[in-house]
Each structure stands twice: as C-alpha cells, then as structure tokens.
C-alpha cells in the first residue's frame, strides 16, 4: 500500500487553511507512524489508522475521518486480501459512519456529495459484471470482462471529480460554510474536492504500477 504520495497531494488541498490544517497534520502523523501501523490484516491496519486519527487529529476532520476509517475496518474485518467488492463495502461503510457522526446526508454540500456518488458508480460497475456474466443465448459466455483495478480507479476519479464540481451551486448545510448561507453558493465544497484529489491520486498511482 503506497498511499504516501496520495496523502501528500491531499495535503496540498488540505493546507489551504479552510479544509483543515489538522487533517493534513493527521496524515503526517499516520505517515510518521507508518512502521508501527504494519498489521496482519487490512482491517487491523485501518483500525490503527482510525485510532491514530481519533487520538491525534482535532477539528471537524478528526472525528469524521476517524469514524470513516473505523467503519471501513469493520466492513472488511474477516478479509486477508481485498478485492473490488471489499473496496466498495469499505467506502459505503465509511460514508454511513460520516453521516452518523456528522448528522449529515447527501445534499448537505459536504464530502459525502463526492464520496457517495463515487461509491455508487463503483458498485454499479461491479454489478454489471455478474448480471452480464449469466450466459445469455447468442452472447459471449463470459459477458463483459471483470473490470480491472486501473479501470475502477479511473472511474472513481472521474466520478468524484464531477461530483465535487457539482457541489458548487449547492447551499451548505453542514460545516463552517453553512454559516455563510446564500454566500456558500458558487464554490465547491473543500471536503468534496479533497475526495476527488485523493481518488485522482490513487488512479494515477495505479497507472504507474500496472
């Protein structure tokens, strides 16, 4: 798992003083504790990250992201190797955790407005395959090929970016921006943009690795 650079990129967005210096610092802490986080399973690793974030990161981001990692861990707690379906389950669990912790939902102009559409898109793409995989008369037996990691990552990135852009005309109902009322309209939510940047970073890494 080489997310270092993805985290580093996020820092550039996070460090603008609005989305939260503390989140950037939290990922810094995660990076510096990297060796201590080495774990026997992905779930254990995610739980350790969740703990570090909850313990050391403040602001709005600490509890939200801490909860997100904890729920993601829960979604894959028996798994040693993660597949695409596991990734979707993790993202879904993370989004539900953020909703619960933040008393927020789709449409409140938060990172959920990038995270949820991205998760939906991945899930749909994966669902296409088993459906198509049922042998249909006169069709190729294997249906569409199972989507590769690179393809999924690219899909996540484009969906998240489009969704983040689409937050611009929304009116914020949660987070600092909600205090501005009408004035929150016109610029995208920084949290949603951060999700897009992270997804794009993962997609770029995947390209390099394949």
């Amino acid at each position: 798992m080489d997310n270092e650079r993805a985290f580093g990129d996020l820092d550039a967005v996070a460090g603008d003083g609005d989305f939260g210096y503390s989140l950037a610092r939290g990922f810094e802490i995660v990076l510096s504790d990297w060796d201590a986080l080495a774990s026997d399973s992905p779930a254990e690793f995610l739980k350790k990250v969740a703990l570090v974030i909850s313990k050391r990161v403040g602001g709005t981001s600490g509890p939200l992201w801490g909860t997100a990692f904890l729920r993601a861990a829960g979604a894959v707690k028996d798994r040693q190797e993660l597949n695409a379906a596991d990734a979707v389950a993790m993202l879904r669990a993370a989004a539900e955790g953020i909703k619960a912790r933040g008393k927020s939902d789709l449409g409140d102009k938060t990172l959920l407005d990038a995270l949820i559409p991205m998760t939906d898109a991945l899930e749909q793409r994966l669902e296409q395959r088993p459906a198509a995989a049922e042998p249909a008369v006169g069709e190729p037996a294997a249906g569409e090929p199972a989507p590769g990691g690179a393809e999924l990552a690219a899909l996540a990135a484009t969906t998240a970016r489009a969704a983040a852009d689409a937050t611009a005309p929304m009116r914020a109902r949660r987070g600092r921006q909600s205090y501005t009322g009408e004035r929150s309209i016109g610029s995208p939510d920084p949290g949603a943009v951060a999700i897009a940047v992270m997804a794009e970073r993962v997609a770029a890494e995947w390209d390099v690795r394949e």
């Binding site: 602001g59 709005t60 801490g66």
Partner: protein
Amino acid sequence: MKKFVNDPKDYVAEMLEGLALANPDTLTYVPEYNLIMRADTPQENKVSLVQGSGSGHEPAHVMSVGKGMLDAACPGDVFAAPPADFVYETVKLVASPKGVLLLVNNYTGDRMAFEMAEELSEADGVTVRTLFIDDDVAVQDSTYTVGRRGVAGNFFVMKAVGAAAERGADLDEVYRIGEKVNSVTRTMGMALTACTPPAKGSPLFDLPDDSVEMGVGIHGEPGRKREKLRSADAMVRELVSAVVDDLPFSSGDRVALMVNGLGGTPIGELYLVYGLAHKQLAERGIEVGRSYVGEYCTSLDMAGASVTLVRLDDEIHDLLTDPAEIPIRVF
C-alpha cells in the same frame, strides 16, 4: 505574516508553555494532551469544569483556568477542535466524585469531540454532563446550520458555573445555572480586518479597506453581510440592535454589557465602543448592571469587536460577582 512565532506548528504548545511558566504555583501544563489545568484539581467537593475549543481565541479558554472558573482547558490547534482523545484524557485528570461538566462552544468539530469524550468517560464510570453554548445571534438560519455558534458570551457561562461549583453546588445545579445563563446571553461581532493564522501565514479572508464584516464568526466565518465602514456610532448601533432584538431585551431589563475585542483592536477603542453601546441601551430603557470591557474571546489578531448582553437577575448577578483567580489579571 508579522508575528512572534518560531515554527508555526509549535505555536500553541509554546503559548501554553509560557502560560504555565507565568503561573507556576497555580497551573499545570500537560504537553501530551495539550492541556492546562489547575494545580489543585480535582477537588473532592467541587464539580470539575472543562472547556475546550480551538486555540486562537485567547484569553478563552486556557487563560480562564483557575479558582472560581475552569479546572482545565484542552484547546485544539488554532481554530480546530481538540482531538476527542485529548478531551477524554483531560476528563480523567480532573474527574471529581461530584462529576464533571464539559462546556462546549457549539461547533460541529467541538460537539463531536466532546460527545465522543463524554461517552468514553461515562464508560469509565465518571459522571459527565455536556453543556453547549450558543450565544451568537449572527447565525439566523438554523435549518441550514448546526445552530448558533458559541462566542464571547461563553465567558459569562464559565464565570457563573465556576462560582456555583466553587460554592459546592452539585452537577445538576451547576448545569442548570450554565443553561440558564446561556439562555439569556446574546452576542454579535464584527470584523474590521481578517486574522492571520500562524500556519497559514496570510489573512484568512479578504476584506477591502473600506469594508467590514457584520456578524463575523470568531474563526473568520462570514457573517450576516459585508458593508461599508461607517462611524463607530452607526456600526455599534447595528450590533446593539441585533443583540437586543434577538432575545429580545426590553425596557426595564437589567443587563451585563460586554464589549469584547477580537484581538487587534486597542482597548481605547473598546472603551469608546462601550460608551456608545451603554448610551444606546439607556435610550431603550435598558440598564447596565455590570460592565466588561477588554478581550475575552478573540480571533487571533483580527481587528473588530463584539457586543454581548446578559439579562441579569439576582442569582446571575451574584454569581458573576464572586471572586476568581485566573491568569488574566494585572497583578
């Protein structure tokens, strides 16, 4: 950025270290959890009081730790709520048999951190209650937000519950008083300039030379509207009206009037603002029973001020008058 700062990451820690060095007999600094606590806490017979919230609002809240006010304050980074774990560790350190009251300014991050800490502490068997403070009238549209923000009026809640706790009141009674004071306290502030967080190094928002932000939040959140700089009298009138009309306060009320500086506005101007506000209240038949002028809850180096009113009754007046010993003093 022109500030007294070494590495911006150390800004909060170095400030807390200075605070502890200046008050060696009364305060203890616990670097691991970024907290300041009374040297003599917890006490068997006193409810312990904790306040958190982001740094950058000093003297709130780390400089309000002491006899008659807080047992501890666990601030986060500049303008960021503390990690939930630090709040939890703070509660452990100050836990008294009479219980712990957490005072929280109403912001998403702070709410989440303190709620998580409350759950964790209660699992340990500590009796904890959490009181949210939300005196800022600038936020009007509560369907679209987590509700009003907690700002300078916070001081009155801390002072009153501090006095009640010192007198030996139990946790429910201390909570009742805090909630009562919060319910009759209203604040509205305005910015003349933006503030510059050390880690950002540049102003947090743009405010043209001829403009002010009416209803600004103490983290630089935008307020009700941006308008042209006008005479002190006209601007103070707008603040006073917003506050008075909100509760509302009315003729015959007796109030505490606080004019709070946001950090960059000198005390001379604050007294000038005080005089104007006092006279405007008199025009409305509202009598000032206690007055407070100075910095209570700032936004780093932001130039600007807020006006707070508290409707007084004998109980609140008495509690506000009780003695306290905190770092913010002159000798």
